[in-house]
Point group: C3
Chain length 111, copies 3
């Protein structure tokens, strides 16, 4: 964590920005880049009786870090996605609690 789950953006675009974006996100969080994951979901989207492109969306799963870090984190994602040619994106933060998160069987609030 943080874990970015991405839909509506081609994996190639995510791969292209992954190095620079994760480096900067790690700076924002004050943690190592190896804490991050970027996973692209394969989706089929529907609207008005037709198959449509999936709207670009990123769900960030993390432990709460406060609004200042969150704002900067979202801004950083947006900036790199713009670089990759993604012109609009919505980003939602999903907060996991440390006592409900287990790394190799060990609860995070006990680490």
């Amino acid at each position: 964590m943080p874990q970015l789950t991405i839909r509506g953006i081609a994996p190639e675009q995510v791969i292209a920005i992954s190095e620079a974006m994760v480096q900067q996100l790690a700076d924002v969080c004050g943690c190592g880049t190896d804490n991050f994951t970027l996973d692209c979901l394969q989706t089929v989207s529907a609207m008005d009786g037709k198959r449509v492109d999936t709207y670009p969306f990123v769900e960030v799963a993390w432990f709460e870090r406060g609004s200042q870090t969150r704002d900067l984190f979202a801004e950083t994602i947006m900036k790199h996605f713009l670089t990759a040619g993604v012109r609009e994106v919505e980003i939602a933060f999903k907060v996991y609690s440390q006592d409900g998160y287990y790394i190799n069987g060990v609860r995070c609030d006990k680490l």
Copy 2:
């Protein structure tokens, strides 16, 4: 948002009902149809040592709108899925907070 993430139902079935369902869901919410997204996830499911069909499931991500709207929203999804031939479905609501949701880099509680 609202964002419907769907598994266990063929994209073709979702496409078929998308226009009528979204129109009615927009009426329930009192918002425009262009706020909605319907994304089908591709999944492989397992049970009893075998690959099985994915159980039909919809996760609705939205900002909380109260139990009356929520009940009607779920009922509307159910009704349209029945029309599409889906005989059982579970629906879960996931609430995003406005201060953790960003549209093109701008936090929703500041819009």
Copy 3:
């Protein structure tokens, strides 16, 4: 529910352990095995400008059952995944509320 959504682990590995794992998880929860779903997501992951293997991750969606059951639940998943050759995995619990969960249109807190 509980609903296990899995990424970064081959469906074949999940299928192989599904019977024994779900039996034991049902014992942990004191419920029937038919309440469970195991869904594998198809993902493409990125890091350092390259496509990489998705980090093994399980999101458990359920109604809160307390920390003792949760610890045992995570331990049970970990144990079976080790058996399947998965050497590391992170597990996060996502709590749905009963008044936001609908089975065939009926809200769970009314069942």
